[in-house]
């Protein structure tokens, strides 16, 4: 134990970051589509062979990238997501009953993650009222409008990806790669952050931090980011 006057979260690499990850755990993954996903951690989990994973993630990746990699290897038992549309293997496993799927409205998904991190066990939202999402849930009217009660998630592990991070675990994201990462970082009992650039403490402006280090238990410098683009759309030069 050396005197650093900050709490170091640095681990050597993605494999070291998985310490304690066991079969049949619930695991959160940041990202929206293939944007801002923890590429290194996903690859490491595939290599480790952890099975029976209940994934909480907005999407399920594509066939050969993102969480699709863990679907190929049948490491995922259940998927909690808002949209899972771009993955043939996902569809096959779901239709065959191998994969359980729980679809959650995207805003509710985001808020249930934040709630988990913020110690809010449950909250009311109008999203999904009158639909099958509301089945079995408590309904209450506020200001004349019906709302349903939604509960915080429980996540022993969360994997997030940031643009920059420092050794104390502070994170900064770039563009729309932020998405679900901050709330999932808050929600994870053990949150693993991989970053494109790991810097010394003091290099990041404390005003610019998107996720304070208290929400991050392990951080490592990622490598070989592919950052695949799902829908490359361009306009003509004018």
């Amino acid at each position: 134990m050396s005197q650093t006057n900050y709490i170091s979260k640095v681990v050597s690499d993605a494999h070291a970051a998985l310490d304690g990850l066991e079969d049949n755990m619930t695991v959160m993954f940041g990202g929206f589509g293939l944007c801002g996903i923890p590429e290194n951690s996903i690859a490491a989990i595939r290599d480790k062979g952890t099975t029976g994973i209940t994934c909480i993630s907005n999407n399920a990746g594509v066939d050969d990238f993102g969480l699709g990699l863990l679907l190929q290897t049948r490491q995922i038992k259940k998927m909690i997501a808002s949209y899972v549309g771009e993955n043939d293997e996902f569809e096959r496993q779901m239709l065959s009953g191998e994969l359980k799927v729980d679809l959650v409205p995207q805003g509710t998904l985001a808020e249930r993650c934040r709630a988990a991190g913020a110690g809010i066990p449950a909250f009311f939202t109008p999203a999904g009222y009158g639909t099958e999402v509301a089945e079995g849930k408590e309904v209450r009217v506020f200001n004349g409008k019906p709302h349903i009660l939604e509960h915080a998630f429980d996540a022993p592990f969360a994997f997030v990806k940031a643009w920059k991070g420092d050794k104390a675990g502070n994170l900064i994201f770039k563009g729309t790669a932020r998405n679900f990462n901050p709330m999932m970082a808050m929600a994870g009992k053990i949150t693993v952050a991989e970053v494109e650039e790991l810097v010394e403490v003091g290099e990041l402006d404390p005003n610019d931090i998107h996720v304070p280090g208290i929400f991050v238990q392990r951080i490592f410098q990622g490598t070989d980011y592919e950052k695949r683009i799902e829908q490359r759309t361009v306009r003509a030069k004018s």
């Binding site: 929206f32 679809l103 409205p105 985001a110 999203a127 709330m183 030069k237």
Partner: protein, 219 residues
């Protein structure tokens, strides 16, 4: 004949008001951004975490860290901001977004909308649609008046699983502009150029209210 998809978007763009924050869904709604009227300042919100979304990038300037909710590469306008999904849906749920435009499979004359699930078919998920329709004060649906089998998509009650109840305010189709009055049904406001009231009546399964002379759209 009815409107092209781009013309539907063009007509919807006439609903935009200066100073509105607008969320556009995938498909026809996305095209609305190409038709902002002169002198109207709008900022587009995409629920994956950007306010002030700009047009697609020119080739070579695509950024994997800058996409919209349809996962398309985009750009950011001056004055844009990035934020988390929780903050993004705080904007939506908190009714800070003035207008939501989205597609639908079915709309009922009470304003219910179905646009996420067809029983027996692969379900892709509702994405942010349920949050959007449950929260937005002003929802315009952009869609074809009938489905591929020629059946009306404007019904007395949706047959498909619902996305939201009593939320749609207006529908713009290839044939008509209709306002939803939950007590009376689809109130026909405008016809597409060359489309008759009779054709709209024929292709609208839900309650349709026709009052006086129904003008043609100005495009």
């Amino acid at each position: 004949m009815g409107l092209s998809k781009d013309q539907i978007a063009q007509r919807i763009a006439q609903e935009l008001r200066d100073g509105w924050y607008v969320n556009l869904g995938i498909g026809i709604p996305t095209l609305v951004a190409n038709h902002i009227p002169e002198g109207i300042n709008i900022e587009f919100q995409s629920e994956n975490g950007i306010l002030g979304m700009g047009p697609f990038p020119v080739e070579g300037e695509e950024d994997a860290d800058l996409i919209n909710a349809g996962k398309q590469t985009i750009t950011a306008m001056p004055g844009a901001s990035f934020f988390s999904s929780a903050t993004s849906f705080a904007m939506i749920r908190g009714q800070h977004v003035q207008l939501t435009v989205l597609g639908a499979m079915e709309v009922s004359d009470g304003g219910d909308i179905a646009n996420w699930k067809i029983p027996g078919k692969m379900v892709k998920g509702m994405g942010g649609a349920m949050d959007l329709v449950a929260s937005a004060e002003n929802i315009i649906v952009a869609m074809q008046h009938t489905n591929r089998r020629g059946e009306s998509k404007l019904l007395s009650a949706c047959s498909l699983p619902l996305t939201g109840v009593a939320c749609v305010k207006k529908v713009v189709t290839d044939l008509a502009v209709l306002e939803i009055d939950p007590d009376r049904g689809f109130v026909l406001l405008e016809r597409a150029p060359g489309v008759s009231v009779e054709e709209i009546q024929e292709k609208t399964a839900g309650r349709l209210v026709v009052e006086g002379d129904v003008p043609e759209m100005m495009l």
